[in-house]
């Protein structure tokens, strides 16, 4: 049976990624000597995010992702561009996502422009410890600020990475993603990062 497509960076996407990373033997082998958390920063101020977050699946996914966070962590997005965007869609960080009216939000999203995505950032973690996945989930803005690695990219760049259109090195060298951390360690473990991208690529996107 064909795998169901999910919205990028949605709760369904994170769950699918967790499941695959836990069971993928090639990934476990590729990350057998990888240690350290990667703090992922998805900058949604781009046209691809505007396109996705005007759709029902995109909006549902975004709210679902925020719903993955415990309330006290979700509230740390208060005052950020993400909170403002969510507010424009009719979602408050104080609310649990279950009661959210997606159909209403889609109507509100019709008027969204790039300006509405200013400073709109989603934070997430990828943490594998010697082949065992520890975390692959959304984060509050202030968590793991001292993580050994940080990978920033636009929403579009992250989608290109996760759909295999470009490799991490292509995106980083081309200035579409920025990597901070021990560069030599990353280069030595580029096979691990490439295999991570292969797993992401196996998740069909809407």
């Amino acid at each position: 049976m064909a795998e169901e497509a999910v919205a990028f960076a949605s709760d369904d996407w994170f769950k699918a990624a967790q499941e695959k990373l836990r069971s993928d033997e090639v990934f476990k082998e590729a990350t057998a000597d990888w240690e350290g958390c990667v703090r992922c920063i998805i900058d949604c101020e781009d046209e691809e995010a505007v396109k996705d977050y005007r759709t029902d699946f995109g909006i549902k996914g975004l709210v679902g992702t925020l719903g993955m966070l415990p309330k006290e962590e979700r509230l740390k997005y208060k005052g950020t561009g993400l909170e403002k965007l969510a507010g424009k869609l009719g979602y408050s960080l104080d609310d649990e996502p279950g009661s959210f009216d997606v159909a209403e939000a889609v109507k509100k999203a019709e008027g969204l422009t790039l300006e509405d995505f200013k400073d709109c950032v989603i934070y997430a973690s990828w943490w594998t410890d010697r082949g065992v996945l520890k975390e692959m989930e959304p984060l509050p803005p202030d968590k793991y600020e001292d993580a050994p690695f940080t990978l920033w990219g636009t929403y579009f760049a992250w989608k290109q990475l996760c759909t295999g259109q470009q490799t991490a090195i292509q995106l980083i060298m081309g200035g579409k993603m920025k990597l901070e951390g021990n560069l030599k360690y990353i280069l030595k473990h580029m096979a691990a990062m490439n295999q991570l991208a292969e797993v992401y690529k196996s998740i069909p996107l809407k």
């Binding site: 470009q166 090195i169 292509q170 200035g175 990597l179 560069l183 280069l187 580029m190 096979a191 490439n194």
Partner: protein, 424 residues
């Protein structure tokens, strides 16, 4: 031709046919053209009606410009063994023309490796489809008075002390990058090209390690291409200077924009070119050896063919040893480069092995050409003898694309940094 010691390779019929076809092309097309070009004035070589362009078109019709680009982008990527054979056989015919064909596709090769989808559609595909040489690239990598610095700065603990004077630099201006500076007269195919892969220093311009990579159409305003230089060897590969004055390229033409990855980029690209050059020097070495063998069998001195003299045999043994060793080592280094760069995209190739293979092959080529020339005696210095051109080409080769000494220093630096050998 030679006996292939590796049984698996020897019995691979497809590979044998591939090698035969390359050799035929080298013998029938490259060698005669190279001999002609070697005797021409440097400026004449770069004229549009010169045999140089005719040969490049023939090479492109055979798809020889597609060998390092994946099929998904219109290329015909070879495997590592086929690539070694390609380099060796074609350079057996002419190292200069094989170099020219290689750098011709450099903008596309680099774009295929690290470029965006837009760069691939706009530049890589047309380069790959081209058989009329409408797209003629070159590799503008060296800066004037900065030849060895380009390599040694990459491993220096204080690269900022090299200073920025003399380097081509670039600045971002909106959706464009602006280039200012000069790339040196060592730019292969520079006088003939209409595209260049250039390596400018990126902002913040703090050191030579802040290096990037960009594709530049040489027809843009602000580009000046100098006439070709007149040189000792590899005269069939026109080289010249390119000047950039406020040359603007679109953002997606600047393939590598991350200064923190400059060192990785250089090591990756130079590892690729190292195995390329290594293969070509192997071709030169073999050509010189074969010419020498032939002459030694024919030349009578001391009442017998000189091949029957022991001193000659010792020399021939050293040549044989050099070629076979170089070929075996080069194949291993090339496999590593192909696996890490073209197949797995880790860019974590062993630069130490790639540089060592390159240095070993070029030193071997020169030693063989030198000893071969000595065995030719007075006949060897005649312009009409192939060994004369091979000797000059091999000598120039000791310097170009990283002189042997610099390659050796960098190989050791990489070997130590990566702990390739440890003490128990």
């Amino acid at each position: 031709m030679y006996f292939e010691i590796d049984k698996l390779v020897r019995e691979n019929k497809e590979h044998s046919m591939f090698r035969s076809e390359l050799h035929r092309f080298a013998k029938e097309v490259l060698r005669p053209a190279a001999e002609k070009l070697d005797k021409m004035d440097a400026r004449e070589v770069a004229q549009h009606d010169s045999p140089y362009f005719e040969v490049i078109r023939k090479m492109k019709k055979n798809g020889y410009h597609r060998v390092l680009v994946p099929e998904e982008y219109g290329g015909e990527m070879l495997g590592p063994l086929e690539f070694n054979t390609y380099c060796e056989e074609l350079a057996w015919g002419s190292m200069g023309l094989t170099t020219a064909c290689g750098v011709n596709s450099f903008p596309a090769i680099c774009a295929a490796l690290i470029g965006s989808p837009e760069a691939i559609e706009e530049v890589v595909r047309p380069f790959m489809e081209d058989e009329e040489d409408k797209y003629h690239g070159c590799w503008a990598v060296m800066d004037p008075d900065r030849g060895s610095d380009y390599i040694t700065a990459m491993d220096d603990p204080h690269p900022e002390e090299f200073g920025m004077e003399g380097f081509l630099k670039t600045e971002r201006d909106g959706d464009e990058w602006v280039l200012n500076g000069t790339k040196s007269y060592w730019t292969s195919s520079g006088p003939c090209a209409n595209w260049a892969l250039v390596h400018p220093i990126l902002p913040p311009h703090s050191s030579p390690q802040d290096i990037g990579a960009g594709m530049v159409p040489l027809t843009l305003p602000g580009v000046t291409v100098s006439p070709p230089i007149d040189k000792l060897g590899m005269r069939d590969d026109p080289q010249g200077e390119i000047i950039f004055e406020n040359v603007r390229i679109p953002n997606h033409y600047m393939l590598a924009q991350a200064p923190e990855f400059g060192r990785t980029l250089v090591k990756m690209l130079v590892s690729c070119t190292s195995v390329y050059m290594g293969g070509m020097f192997l071709g030169v070495a073999r050509a010189a050896f074969e010419e020498t063998l032939k002459y030694c069998k024919e030349r009578i001195q001391g009442k017998k063919p000189i091949i029957d003299h022991q001193l000659t045999r010792i020399r021939l043994y050293k040549m044989f040893e050099g070629i076979e060793t170089a070929r075996a080592f080069l194949r291993a280094a090339t496999r590593n480069v192909f696996e890490e760069i073209f197949q797995n995209h880790t860019y974590y190739q062993s630069t130490a092995h790639a540089f060592t293979a390159h240095a070993y092959c070029k030193n071997t080529a020169f030693q063989i050409a030198h000893d071969g020339l000595q065995l030719f005696g007075g006949a060897g210095i005649l312009k009409e003898m192939p060994i004369e051109k091979l000797f000059r080409d091999a000598r120039v080769g000791l310097i170009m694309d990283g002189c042997s000494e610099m390659l050796s220093l960098e190989a050791v630096a990489d070997m130590l940094e990566e702990d390739l050998y440890t003490v128990d």
